[in-house]
């Protein structure tokens, strides 16, 4: 396809503007970073902070142990994410059930989501992790099991509400069309409403996953030897806090792919909805 000289000139102009934006962005980032570094190093306590938090030798020494710890976090994360997703769909579906028979179910589910969305996670961890084993009813199970359970209980309360919002966001005419075809309530939910709800809430779900990704570090309060606990052990050996920073960075590295994926997906959804417009 041939392009007119006018359009070529416009494209050259736009490309020039784009190049200029890139250079301005790089320059301002460098200046900002330099200001932060210089500013920090001028503070009176900097030398002490640097040796207690940014000790490269300590980091190297603690690395294998903390890495082993984060592997536990990853397993807990993946297990709880799958279970949370499953339970959330069930809880949200139960909350939308109509009919008098289901009143106790609805009440129970409402009470559950109210309670566990309000309760701080750390307290749920204590209650589940120390309270349930103290009943003496269950066999001895590792701390990470109870930690996973506490995460599931808390996060299901949140994520089920996200699902419920998604279900309610599907236009009522979809339910009407499905019922008009003779689909039952359950079939309508499963085949028509849930698939659409899931698409609507995917960015919110991904955000909750990112949040879960760092909250798995809290299972350390139950004694599970995860990245945080491993860092604590290393720290207690050397009285240097660098292992904590190391563990923290590992959590960030773990989270970044998901954060980027969430941003990309949200942007794509937005682009799709604004198709045909540039502003």
């Amino acid at each position: 396809m041939t392009v007119s000289a006018l359009e070529l000139e416009r494209r050259r102009y736009r490309a020039g503007r784009a190049r200029r934006s890139v250079w301005v962005g790089i320059a301002s980032t460098l200046v900002f970073a330099a200001l932060v570094v210089v500013g920090l190093s001028l503070t009176p306590g900097w030398p002490v902070v640097r040796s207690t938090f940014f000790d490269l030798g300590e980091a190297r020494e603690a690395f294998p142990r903390v890495l082993q710890g984060i592997w536990l976090n990853i397993r807990v994360l993946l297990t709880s994410a799958v279970v949370i997703l499953l339970f959330s769909v069930i809880v949200s579906a139960l909350r939308t059930l109509r009919g008098a028979v289901f009143l106790p179910v609805r009440l129970l589910m409402t009470g559950y989501t109210d309670l566990f969305r309000g309760m701080p996670l750390i307290i749920v961890l204590y209650l589940v992790g120390f309270g349930i084993p103290a009943l003496g009813f269950f066999p001895r199970l590792p701390a990470e099991f109870w930690g996973t359970l506490a995460l599931v209980v808390t996060y299901t309360a949140y994520v089920s509400e996200v699902f419920r919002a998604g279900l309610e966001a599907v236009h009522p005419s979809q339910r009407l069309a499905a019922r008009a075809l003779g689909l039952s309530y359950g079939q309508t939910l499963r085949l028509v409403l849930l698939p659409q709800a899931l698409r609507k809430v995917t960015p919110a779900l991904m955000n909750d996953f990112v949040s879960l990704q760092k909250d798995v570090g809290l299972i350390s309060v139950l004694g599970a030897v995860d990245a945080v606990r491993s860092a604590q052990i290393e720290t207690s050996l050397s009285f240097n806090f660098t292992p904590y920073l190391l563990a923290g960075l590992m959590f960030v590295v773990l989270a970044i792919p998901m954060i980027r994926l969430t941003d990309w997906y949200s942007a794509r959804l937005q682009r799709r909805e604004q198709m045909g417009s540039i502003v």
Binding site: L176, A177, A180, L181, G182, L183, P195
Partner: protein, 244 residues
């Protein structure tokens, strides 16, 4: 011969507002009945009541000899015998065209996947959209979407087809393709109750035109008779308004 559908004294109110105030109507098999009337005259409500999407306040609905307004009947079974097409198509946006068409066949009528797909494809061929089977609904024009919605309603071989102002949301140049499809359904012997604002089409395709006003049937008759020699004053006023 007893009618396929019999409505006896149908009443329906919304929040104290009486929308249907005693409607009696018989529809014979293979008959095409067109409901006309101003917006708010109760056409859409009547169609929704027939399909049990709304619960009637009084009266009786009898489909092929069964009283379907009895609360003990299985409403899902009844709805699976009646096809409905809505003004705004209401296709399922997350399903491909072919899956929209075969959804009820597979899950309500428990048809096998290949049987349903074959049947769905034949239906799409009939409406001239076989090449769009793998597309998602948002890639189709309004007219194409509405034709798919009609195919979806036909996929389960319903005894009765309800069409609720199916051309009202379409651009004028797309109305024709949808109405052509309805015309061919009539030729194949479908029983249809439809609400519409397309008077020319009503005259062309209807076996009987029914004029609703204020929640009651004011007048009904063969299309030529109805449009050329309306008996009631209210009908004449309604038709005169349309002429302007």
């Amino acid at each position: 011969m007893s009618p396929l559908l019999r409505l006896e004294g149908i009443r329906k109110s919304f929040a104290g507002q009486e929308v249907l105030r005693g409607v009696d109507l018989d529809v014979a098999e293979h008959e095409v009945v067109v409901l006309v009337g101003a917006s708010g005259s109760g056409k859409s409500t009547l169609l929704r009541c027939i399909n049990l999407l709304e619960q009637i306040d009084d009266g009786r609905i009898v489909l092929a000899g069964d009283d379907i307004s009895d609360p003990r009947v299985d409403a899902d079974r009844v709805r699976s015998r009646i096809g409905v097409v809505f003004q705004h198509y209401n296709l399922f946006p997350h399903l491909r065209v072919i899956d929209n068409v075969t959804l009820a066949a597979r899950h309500v009528h428990k048809m096998g996947k290949t049987d349903a797909a074959g049947r769905g494809l034949r239906l799409l061929t009939r409406i001239g959209l076989a090449d769009k089977a793998r597309e998602y609904p948002d890639r189709l024009s309004g007219g194409q979407q509405q034709r798919v919605a009609i195919a979806r309603a036909l996929a389960t071989d319903p005894a009765l087809l309800l069409l609720d102002e199916i051309t009202s949301a379409l651009d004028p140049e797309l109305v024709g393709e949808v109405l052509d499809l309805v015309r061919s359904l009539k030729e194949q012997g479908a029983t249809i109750v439809m609400a519409t604002h397309e008077m020319a089409f009503a005259r062309d395709v209807a076996d009987r035109v029914v004029f609703l006003d204020g929640g009651v049937i004011v007048e009904q008759g063969a299309p030529d008779e109805f449009f050329d020699h309306p008996r009631e004053e209210r009908t004449r006023r309604f038709l005169a308004r349309l002429a302007h």
